[in-house]
């Protein structure tokens, strides 16, 4: 049972600890809303941008409720952080991710304000999601100047009628132009492309064309995320059954993508992510590894490892919480000194195990061999899992498509722990 996140004792970080830590900043503004999109974003509130960024900065500095070690935990013999250290960040961030919405609507000046509020470790990864139609070389240069190291372009498709079916504002040429601008601004080899497959009217050949065009971009991306179009509750897409994707068609497209990306040297490292070796997104990997991160801004999620109050010594627990959904609520709460946390949960060890299985199964790292017993006994899992070095089990391409089913079956089987 999830519980509201109470002020449980949090393991204070040892000084100089090098466990990764991420900061996610949510930018809830878009020029228009795509009808498949259910993210917390608005098209009529950009006037809040300055106040919103200021609120985010304030929140990072004080984080009154969420993140930081409680005074009690800190007094347990661990040195308190130096004066002026932002309370929301336990140790320097190894990654920062500006997600949206459309973060590229923010001028570099505001990105810079946010970045200077966060202590960042050397060599940290700093990503900004960009819609292709919002950027040019000058903007991207200014992003680089304030510390951005990586861009993620929402390209979605390279086929005109598919872009239209998705209701995107940009065209194929805008995507190419954005990549050229990125290259000119020094992001060659440090940009990623987001794709969606399964839009109404998209044939397998259309999808192949999109992938070929992406791989032929100049310079080519070292990282691609390809997402199966998902029908999210409450979106206009959800209301129009005629445009709902066919899961079998999406399965075909997934297998095709996996094959073509692999051929181009991009190997899968998470169900929907492919990268050249070393170009994996560090920030997103935190999510799969049950790592720690602070979510800043409205609707952002945070995660801290905690010692579960009732667990025996050494059994780590985990606390997840999330912020109020709308930017105006968020700004209001911060400005009036109240908590921005909407709700949260402390995971039980059982919940944590299921989560760990579910998340690591999505990745190239796979799951430890202890989960293998169940696999061997279940004929239905034939061909869905393969062994990997270090006594691990990793999903095959076919298995990745059925990751939920596999996770449930492994979870249900009595594997030694």
């Amino acid at each position: 049972m999830p519980r509201a996140a109470g002020p449980g004792p949090i393991a204070a970080p040892a000084a100089g600890e090098d466990r990764p830590f991420g900061v996610y900043v949510h930018v809830p503004f878009c020029v228009s809303r795509c009808d498949y999109c259910a993210f917390a974003t608005w098209t009529d509130r950009f006037h809040l941008a300055e106040r919103y960024v200021a609120a985010c900065v304030a929140e990072i500095r004080r984080a009154p409720t969420g993140w930081p070690p409680s005074a009690g935990a800190l007094s347990g013999g661990v040195a308190p952080p130096p004066a002026g250290w932002p309370a929301g960040v336990p140790r320097p961030a190894s990654s920062v991710f500006f997600g949206g919405g459309t973060p590229s609507l923010l001028p570099a000046r505001l990105l810079g304000q946010l970045l200077s509020a966060v202590p960042i470790s050397r060599g940290a990864e700093v990503t900004v999601e960009c819609n292709p139609d919002t950027v040019d070389t000058a903007t991207l240069r200014s992003y680089a100047d304030v510390g951005v190291t990586r861009l993620s372009f929402g390209v979605q498709s390279m086929v005109p009628h598919v872009l239209r079916a998705l209701g995107r504002r940009h065209d194929v040429e805008a995507a190419r132009a954005a990549v050229r601008a990125a290259s000119a601004a020094g992001f060659a080899g440090r940009y990623s492309v987001d794709l969606i497959y399964g839009a109404a009217g998209e044939s397998l050949e259309d999808w192949r064309a999109t992938i070929s065009a992406v791989l032929a971009l100049d310079p080519p991306p070292a990282h691609v995320s390809a997402y199966a179009l998902t029908v999210e509750r409450g979106t206009p897409l959800a209301a129009d059954r005629s445009r709902h994707p066919d899961p079998d068609d999406q399965a075909d497209k997934y297998l095709l993508a996996d094959e073509l990306f692999a051929g181009a040297g991009l190997r899968w490292y998470e169900i929907s992510n492919w990268a050249a070796p070393g170009a994996e997104c560090r920030h997103n990997q935190l999510y799969w590894r049950q790592g720690e991160y602070l979510g800043v801004g409205c609707a952002a999620h945070s995660h801290a490892r905690v010692r579960h109050p009732v667990a025996v010594a050494g059994v780590g627990g985990s606390r997840r919480w999330w912020n109020v959904r709308t930017p105006e609520r968020y700004v209001d709460q911060v400005e009036s000194g109240r908590s921005v946390v909407a709700a949260g949960e402390v995971l039980t060890p059982a919940e944590q195990r299921l989560e760990a299985l579910q998340l690591s199964l999505r990745t190239r790292a796979g799951v430890p061999g202890t989960a293998l017993a169940g696999w061997r006994e279940d004929p239905a899992l034939d061909g869905l899992l393969a062994t990997a070095p270090g006594d691990r089990a990793v999903l095959t391409a076919r298995g990745r498509l059925l990751a939920s089913e596999v996770a449930l079956r492994l979870h249900a089987s009595p594997a030694p722990r």
Binding site: P2, G22, Y24, H26, F39, G99, Y227, A228, T230, P247, D248, Q250, A251, Y254, I271, S272, L286, Y287, W288, Q290, Y293, G295, A299, A300, H301, S302, H303, R320, W322, E345, E351, L354, E355, Q358, L359, R362, A380, L381, L384, R398, R400, L401, L402, A403, S404, E405, A407, L408, H411, A412
Partner: protein
Amino acid sequence: MRRGAVTLPPAPQVAGIVAAASKPAVVLIAAKIGAATAPGLRAPHCSRTGRDRRDRSRPFTRRKNRHHGRDIVDLHRIRNLSVVAHVDHGKSTLSDRILELTGAVDAREMREQFLDSMDIERERGITIKAQNVRVHWRGYTIHLIDTPGHVDFGYEVSRSLAACEGVVLLVDAAQGIEAQTLANAYQALEHDKEIVAVLNKIDLPAADPDRYAGEIERVLGVPADQVLRISAKTGEGVAELLDVICERIPPPSGEADAPLQGLIFDSYYDQYRGVVSAVRIVNGTLVSGTRLRFMQTGRTHEVEEIGIRAPANVAVAELGPGEVGYLIAGIKDVGEARSGETVTTAAHPASEPLEGYQDPKPMVFCGLYPLEGDDFADLRDALEKMRLNDASITYEPETSGALGFGFRCGFLGLLHMEIVRERLEREFDLSLIATAPSVEYRARLTDGSTVEVHNPSEMPEPQALEWIEEPFLTATILTPAEYTGTLMDLCQNRRGDMVRMEYLSPERLELVYRIPLSEVVIDFFDALKSRTKGYASLDYEPAGWARADLVKIDILLNSVPVDAFSAIVHRSAAHDYGRRMTERLRELIPRQLFDVPIQAAIGGRIVARETVKAKRKDVLAKCYGGDITRKRKLLEKQKEGKKRMKNIGRVEVPQEAFIQALRLEE
């Protein structure tokens, strides 16, 4: 008069009423009670969960201080009647007007179809349980029983008749005589009850009272000028009807000083008070606190409380001959005090019990299974209590490979089956799966023995089978003449043989068919209604057995037969059943990790096949902004869903698929 009797001046003389007018009227207890109460004899709503609607109306004891010495009513000033009619002809609405006009329910508490107090009745707009209520009219005490009109609940009508001397037969003045009008009229005549024929709904623009008064005269033999004309909606003519009731319906007969004979004509189980019965006193006097003997079971119990429904419960000290009331005797065993039981006193028992009831034979059977296996004992308990309130249901334990432990239950018809199931779920907080309804068959085996087959799994192997018989009905259809062709078609398709065809009037026709019950049970009624724009009506009664070419059809999931989906059908309909069931299951069974064949087979021969293709993708593509919680919750939900699935031949079948597949076509 006995001790403490309070007398009132004689009742005002009502025009035309002579009987008993000269006798002093006896005081009538003030029946008006502040709080709206659930009237009548109803099983408590959700007795297990405590959401008991009767809680408010459980003042059985609280009202005791209302005893005003003696309550016995002069026999000659009692009128006991049932309101009977075809479905929807306005019985409950007439009861409303009577409750209002007699002041039994005041305007503030009034609502439409007041006596339909069960939620299912209100939702469906039909009466399911007969309901008795006492009202007072110009010095008379009237016990009125509102009865259901639907053919499945005919048993309620016949039980009610035993507590009455007459009936008010309502006929919709815009529709005329319908099938249940006839059935009810015949029942009343058979039992020698006075019939007051009444045309209702004369306020409707389409009403044609002259025409239908003529029809009533021709068909039922009631002179047209004696047919009353009322509107239960506006109240027009209702006061006159009450006068006519007092005038024409004979008073009950009975001896106040004879040994007690009271007929229990309805009972239900109250979680606090035990069995609560509706009782009609035939002879003698039922006195609070005495020890009673229940003549069928031979048990004795002390009266805890007796009272009347007016329509709220009012405790009284005595009930005399001709009176109708309720009886509580602290009975916790639901096998006692059932409908048809006679109560007498332990001290001076009557020599003979009253004629009880013949429990009707169930016509339709289905398996009822608890969704959660643990609820089996609760289901048995619920069925026992339900049977107290509805003697027409039967049940016997049975086991299904697919569904576990449950009961094979018998009902009077499909609506009855649906209603009982719903009542079990609501009143006892159960979730049930019902298997496909089927009738009872009789099989003669090659070894000369005969077996009854209530369930496809009891069907003998073809090699062992000499022949098999199915039950038949005599179905009476009343229809506007223009639909004769299409109805004859329908009956023929359903293997019916015409017995008779008769004009009731130039435009209305009575068609009588001999037809297999199995063909009528499922969707015949709906087909009849849709072919005649709702104008035809149907009544039926059992008409023996006849041999037929019947086969058992099995449904196989991944090559494993699923007993819950088997059926016995006429050979000519077998393919159709197989095709429909496999198609439906293909829609209902979620895709698995492998292809799942769904087959229909007759004696090992496959007659239909569908395949649920293996699923290829179930994963969520996106895991964004660190919202891991939502993902985990989704997986946990899937995990819960898996727990609720039954594994059949390695196939995970959700409970919902059973429910949907076995649900009758709407």
